[in-house]
């Protein structure tokens, strides 16, 4: 059976086609002007390298994708420095646009556009490298990096803005963090190019092998993180299966905790830690009998004693297990526990994490319908948090949550609940208290 060629056209197709025409004209001029063509072997080698590197970007944990493509371009320029650098870099550059993924998706005009912008940027970088060579290698290198980056950004920014109808400022904000990489990878590329000229292809494995290893390790890292996330989610499901009236609670608490963390400008790594702690803050529920967890109405003294005993046993045990300490912090106000073996910085992080999750947990408890009462309105929940700020909740965390929600224009609570649990008997408007650990907000947490 014949498969039909897939062809996807995005709104910015005309811009892409215009760039392709311009690049084709430039290549025709280069070929027609009698420029020297570099040898076929290095041309093929660097072209293949660029193709491979553009199709296997290294994904950094901070979600930045670093393509070592520019490194290959600079390597080619440095390797062809003694003749045919501009034409050689142009031809090698074409390979930079050949993305297998885009071809599979039928984005053929985008593929051609990428080839074109890579061709022009590589040719310009090579021309600058050659012309500034007399001033010294540093000038030549700096000039070529700036020119390549300027053409790359100048072409890709409008293309993305047109195709995805994004504001140019936003596209620039996304592209800006990757700019310093041009210098690091460019320098490495020059080194490889120079070594290639001196000792031939034997220089390439010295760079390619560590790059392949690094890429593989980063890929394993991301896979492991995915496994971690999947495992945590499975246990969240187990918690929610046991206490169905809090379905979606942990995910929402994690979301609010991240809102607060972002407002407080926590580092990416601390945010990641906060997310896991928030997702697992209710894991203790797995140790509490279901009949108590799901009881509508006030707990008896005996039942409350069972919950408290479980809570205390959890806290006592977990604080002595280093990997569980932060989870204890999120579930209790007993800061003395943080002192067991943690450094001062670590203690401060754990305390902050506990404060954040306490506020997020309380906000979700108030704005969700429970078996013993209907959800409160967002305004009531904010007022309650404000009233308890300084005595029960950390005021900074309270302010951060309110600011984050208002900034996003989001609404939670009565009238805005998503996926609320259906109860056989509708809960009363006002309730008597909690039957779950999730509502046992820390007492005396204040700074």
């Amino acid at each position: 059976m014949r498969s039909r060629l897939k062809f996807v056209v995005l709104p910015g197709w005309w811009f892409e086609v215009a760039c392709v025409v311009g690049a084709a004209a430039l290549l025709a001029w280069e070929l027609g002007s009698g420029q020297r063509l570099p040898e076929l072997v290095p041309l093929t080698l660097f072209g293949a390298l660029l193709l491979a590197s553009e199709n296997t970007p290294i994904l950094f944990p901070s979600a930045t994708a670093v393509s070592p493509g520019f490194m290959t371009v600079m390597a080619a320029i440095a390797a062809f420095d003694h003749g045919g650098a501009v034409l050689g870099a142009s031809i090698v550059g074409i390979a930079g646009g050949l993305s297998v993924d885009l071809i599979r998706k039928g984005r053929h005009t985008t593929v051609l556009f990428n080839c074109a912008q890579y061709l022009v940027a590589s040719a310009a970088a090579a021309a600058v490298y050659e012309s500034l060579g007399g001033l010294g290698r540093a000038w030549a290198f700096g000039g070529s990096v700036v020119v390549f980056a300027a053409i790359n950004v100048g072409a890709v920014l409008p293309q993305v803005a047109l195709n995805y109808r994004e504001r140019p400022r936003q596209v620039w904000r996304d592209m800006r963090p990757a700019l310093p990489n041009y210098f690091a990878f460019g320098l490495l590329g020059v080194l490889v190019g120079v070594l290639y000229r001196e000792i031939g292809a034997v220089a390439l494995p010295l760079l390619i092998i560590p790059a392949v290893i690094t890429r593989k390790v980063f890929a394993s890292f991301l896979e492991l993180q995915e496994a971690h996330d999947a495992t945590v989610k499975v246990f969240i499901k187990a918690i929610e299966a046991k206490d169905r009236y809090t379905a979606g609670h942990t995910e929402r608490v994690a979301k609010y905790a991240l809102y607060i963390g972002e407002e407080l400008r926590l580092a990416a790594r601390d945010l990641e830690h906060l997310r896991y702690a928030a997702l697992l803050h209710d894991v203790g529920k797995l140790a509490v009998p279901r009949r108590i967890l799901n009881k509508p109405g006030r707990l008896t003294e005996d039942e409350y004693a069972i919950v408290q005993r479980h809570n205390q046993v959890c806290v006592d045990i977990l604080t002595r297990v280093d990997f569980m300490r932060s989870m204890v912090g999120t579930a209790s106000d007993q800061h003395a526990y943080f002192a067991t073996g943690a450094s001062e910085r670590e203690q401060s992080r754990l305390v902050q994490e506990a404060h954040i999750v306490a506020v997020a947990d309380a906000f979700d408890a108030m704005t969700s319908t429970r078996s013993y009462r209907q959800a409160l309105s967002q305004e009531t929940a904010f007022r309650e948090l404000h009233d308890k700020a300084g005595s029960q909740f950390n005021p900074r965390c309270v302010e951060a949550l309110i600011r984050a929600i208002q900034k996003r224009g989001e609404h939670y609570g009565l009238g805005f609940e998503e996926g609320a649990v259906e109860f056989a008997v509708p809960p009363p408007v006002a309730g008597v208290g909690s039957a779950g650990l999730g509502d046992l907000v820390p007492r005396g947490v204040a700074t």
Partner: protein, 408 residues
């Protein structure tokens, strides 16, 4: 607006600081060796020492970043200069190692480095005698041989003189780190030969590799901690003895190693041993699981929970298989024997012998009989495994004892 430095994650800042350190090391150590003076040797030695204290996390164990510098200096400098720089570096490193690892560990590391560096220096000198010239390809040959000798002797040293604070290095897992070190040394050497400033750039791939391994090691530890944390939930709930998961994992790993299982299979049986009671979290009352049928049902529920994630689906099968009437794999048999053995021994090592006798009559399936045989071998060859297992569960049991917590 936050500065570039402020936008970096803490670990990335550390890596950035290391780049600067490596740059300085490369500049001073490699840029000035030609006109050797006492001051330059001192500076090079200090910087080599610093780079020896920065490690690359291999999947198991660590490798100092400074190895690349040792190999490059051996290939570039004459033997006298090499040993001057090395001696100074080791002298500067020693106090830090003593504080960090204690006298026994520090002495072993120092000895290993010294022997490996001597072999490396000798190999480089030998290669210089055999292959004359300073062309880049000759240099590359010299650094490759010197590097291979250094890393081989270092690995041999790890086997002969194992350090108490570091796990044994598994070549099968650590080779990517060694290859990266060797490539960095090669790149450093030929880059320096071409242009001293280029040597600085040559360290970039190694620093990136280090960053990648570092993040992977941190993620691996976090994942293990989550698994451990979750495994103690049934214990805290009182449906299974405190510390049972951790102790069972120690026995399961010992049995799997004895049978020569792959690293992945060892990890799998350890995780299954830790999580084999996870189905019990669905119980409302511990008294609800008294019959064998209950246990099979709960094991299936545990398996179902774990199979919901693709990554733990094999562990889920194992957990279910452990309680099945007919064990159908060696891995399931090992987990079953390990957990059953711990149920009998708990925290009393004196019960180990009796437990083996009891288990002997409980296992009548081929996989179980084979696993039983392996358990006896492990206990004969390494009787301390019982103490190690009890120690691994001790944080939980001691905590429970300290709080006077009632069970159930």
């Amino acid at each position: 607006m936050k500065s570039l430095w402020g936008r970096l994650q803490p670990r990335e800042r550390r890596v950035a600081a290391e780049v600067y350190l490596a740059v300085a090391a490369a500049l001073v150590a490699l840029g000035r060796l030609e006109g050797v003076s006492g001051l330059v040797v001192a500076a090079a030695g200090m910087l080599l020492a610093a780079s020896l204290l920065v490690v690359v996390q291999a999947p198991i164990g660590t490798v100092p970043l400074g190895y690349a510098l040792v190999i490059a200096i051996a290939a570039l400098a004459d033997i006298g200069t090499f040993f001057s720089v090395l001696a100074l570096a080791l002298l500067v490193t020693l106090p830090v190692l003593l504080v960090r690892y204690g006298p026994d560990d520090a002495t072993r590391r120092m000895t290993r480095w010294l022997v490996a560096a001597c072999a490396c220096g000798g190999a480089a000198a030998g290669m210089r005698a055999l292959a004359h010239g300073t062309s880049p390809d000759v240099l590359l040959l010299q650094v490759s041989v010197a590097g291979a000798v250094f890393l081989s002797v270092d690995l041999l040293g790890r086997a002969v003189l194992p350090t108490p604070t570091a796990p044994p290095m598994h070549v099968r897992l650590a080779w990517p780190v060694h290859v990266s070190i060797l490539c960095a040394a090669g790149l450093l050497t030929v880059a320096y030969h071409h242009d001293k400033w280029m040597a600085v750039v040559a360290l970039v791939p190694l620093v990136m590799t280090r960053f990648a391994f570092d993040r992977y090691a941190a993620a691996q530890e976090a994942y293990r901690q989550t698994i451990r944390a979750l495994s103690i939930v049934p214990e805290v709930a009182g449906v299974t003895p405190l510390g049972h998961g951790e102790r069972s994992a120690v026995y399961a790993v010992a049995l799997a190693r004895q049978l020569g299982f792959s690293t992945e299979a060892i990890e799998r049986v350890a995780t299954a041993a830790r999580l084999h009671h996870i189905g019990y979290v669905t119980l409302d009352d511990p008294e609800d699981a008294t019959t064998h049928e209950d246990q099979v049902r709960l094991a299936k529920q545990g398996g179902d929970i774990l199979r919901e994630t693709e990554f733990l689906s094999e562990v889920g099968d194992l957990v279910e298989g452990v309680a099945a009437s007919d064990v159908t794999s060696r891995e399931a048999a090992i987990v079953r024997i390990a957990t059953a053995f711990d149920h009998l021994v708990l925290e009393d090592p004196a019960r180990a012998v009796g437990a083996v006798q009891l288990l002997k009559f409980q296992q009548n399936d081929p996989y179980g009989a084979a696993a039983m045989l392996v358990l006896r071998q492990v206990l004969d060859e390494d009787p301390a495994v019982v103490e190690r297992a009890i120690a691994s569960g001790a944080p939980l049991t001691e905590a429970a004892a300290a709080s006077g917590a009632q069970r159930g």
